[in-house]
């Protein structure tokens, strides 16, 4: 099977500093990988490379067998959902955010899909009209998640997506992600929570000092 994402001897440097060193790994469709490692070890950089928000300084990344440098970046990113560690909402209302993925595709917002996702995350559809300045950190995180799931991605990248959530909401998010994974969505999830990292994931990728420390099969 062709890996969905393959890293071949990937280095990423920022100035003189090597943030990722000699990364080689293969990720297959439907994988669920927890990414762990100390702060500053290069985990977020790894996700940014997967989403092509940055390019490798050395080495190559293949997406479904094609060199990432030869793919259209915007089209590629449309197939990848990415939730940042600190969710960024823009505009004035929740609707401004949820209509954005439709606007950039020149499509009208699909109310049915939006409502389905609200109910999956156990949020009221009224949220659409809420002003983002009035949302709590946890609500912002869930809206950001919904925003990246409006068009079901092939790969979902989560950077500590539940760090701002209470235990109840964390469980809701974990269940949604597991369902998505069961539907075939590949999940790469950075987490600092040891229990969470082993709960649903199939593999555990440990990164330390910019290098792969281990890749452990969990199931």
């Amino acid at each position: 099977m062709t890996p969905q994402i393959a890293f071949h001897k990937v280095f990423y440097r920022s100035g003189e500093k090597a943030i990722l060193k000699d990364l080689s790994l293969e990720i297959f469709p439907g994988d669920y990988i927890s990414v762990v490692g100390p702060s500053g070890s290069g985990k977020s950089t790894f996700l940014k490379l997967c989403c092509h928000l940055i390019s490798p300084t050395e080495g190559s990344i293949l997406i479904n067998g094609a060199d990432v440098m030869k793919l259209d970046p915007a089209e590629l990113r449309k197939k990848i959902g990415y939730c940042f560690q600190t969710p960024v909402l823009f505009g004035r209302t929740v609707e401004d955010n949820l209509s954005y993925p439709y606007r950039i595709r020149n499509r009208k917002m699909d109310g049915g899909r939006v409502n389905k996702l609200f109910s999956l995350f156990q949020m009221d559809p009224d949220y659409l009209k809420h002003e983002i300045v009035n949302l709590s950190g946890g609500e912002k995180q869930r809206i950001a998640l919904i925003r990246s799931l409006l068009f079901q991605p092939e790969v979902l990248l989560l950077d500590e997506a539940t760090s701002a959530l209470d235990p109840e909401n964390t469980l809701i998010v974990e269940r949604v992600i597991r369902t998505l994974n069961q539907d075939g969505v590949t999940v790469l999830w950075i987490t600092h929570n040891p229990e969470q990292s082993r709960k649903y994931a199939g593999r555990l990728l440990a990164i330390e000092n910019g290098e792969i420390k281990s890749m452990e099969a969990l199931k």
């Binding site: 989403c51 092509h52 928000l53 940055i54 390019s55 440098m69 970046p73 915007a74 089209e75 990113r77 449309k78 990848i80 990415y82 940042f84 600190t86 960024v88 823009f90 954005y100 993925p101 606007r103 950039i104 595709r105 950001a144 925003r147 990246s148």
Partner: protein
């Protein structure tokens, strides 16, 4: 009508006004004495020089010279504006194109409408006003756009990660920057006649033109400054935003 005619001796007496600011600086320990003297000397030397140059060019009545002079002013203004936009790729070229286009479009309308004629003593002072206004507007645009591309990095990367192209991911920043460039001109238009009698109008009145005629000129100036800042700010922001990304549509 009494035309103002400044003699050399009245200028000398007026120069005493410089001492007022020097005295203030000295007694208030502002330590601005040297800077005041240098600025006054520079202003006098530059103005005298430009006076002679203009007198020479006005005498030539040569459209080519007039155009070259306007281009030179545009280049100087572009150079100055580009300095405000450190971090903007091709800042000088973008400024030159933007100020040039804004100035060109406005001057073309003014000449075509018969408001002014393409002669040096009309094109050069009017062009100068337009160009310097565009320069200030561009400086503000550049400051805003570079600051926003720094402070709103996460927002842009979020939009890029959602699959947005570089224009939709920066459009808010572009709009805010154009607005920043245009607002001072709009604000000063709002207060014309109430807060300030602008330089051109004051000059015309001092030179003996009737206030009603001077007002007509001032209205023309207001229109032309608005159009130039709009065209120049719009072009500059739309031309420079690409420089914040690489060809892989990644934020630099």
């Amino acid at each position: 009508m009494n035309e103002a005619n400044i003699s050399f001796s009245s200028l000398m007496i007026a120069s005493l006004l410089v001492f007022v600011s020097l005295l203030f600086s000295y007694f208030q320990k502002l330590k601005l004495e040297k800077e005041i003297l240098v600025s006054v000397l520079r202003a006098v030397v530059q103005l005298i020089a430009v006076g002679y140059v203009l007198q020479y060019i006005f005498g030539l009545e040569n459209p080519l010279f007039t155009t070259l002079f306007v281009l030179l002013m545009t280049f100087n203004a572009s150079h100055n504006a580009a300095k405000r936009g450190k971090g903007i790729r091709n800042g000088l070229l973008i400024s030159f194109v933007s100020i040039g286009a804004g100035t060109g479009a406005t001057l073309a309308v003014l000449v075509a409408s018969g408001a002014i004629r393409y002669v040096p003593n009309q094109i050069i002072p009017v062009g100068g006003m337009i160009i310097s206004n565009a320069m200030v507007a561009l400086g503000l645009c550049y400051r805003q756009i570079t600051a926003d591309f720094q402070s709103r990095r996460d927002e842009i990367e979020t939009k890029l990660s959602l699959g947005a192209d570089i224009l939709p991911s920066s459009i808010e920043i572009i709009r805010d920057s154009i607005r920043t460039g245009m607002v001072p001109t709009i604000d000063s238009a709002k207060t014309l006649g109430i807060v300030s009698l602008p330089g051109m109008m004051t000059g015309l009145i001092l030179a003996g033109t009737s206030p009603v005629q001077a007002v007509r000129y001032q209205i023309m100036v207001t229109f032309m400054l608005l159009s130039t800042t709009a065209v120049s700010s719009f072009l500059a922001c739309y031309l420079c935003y690409r420089g914040f990304f690489n060809d892989r549509k990644q934020l630099l």
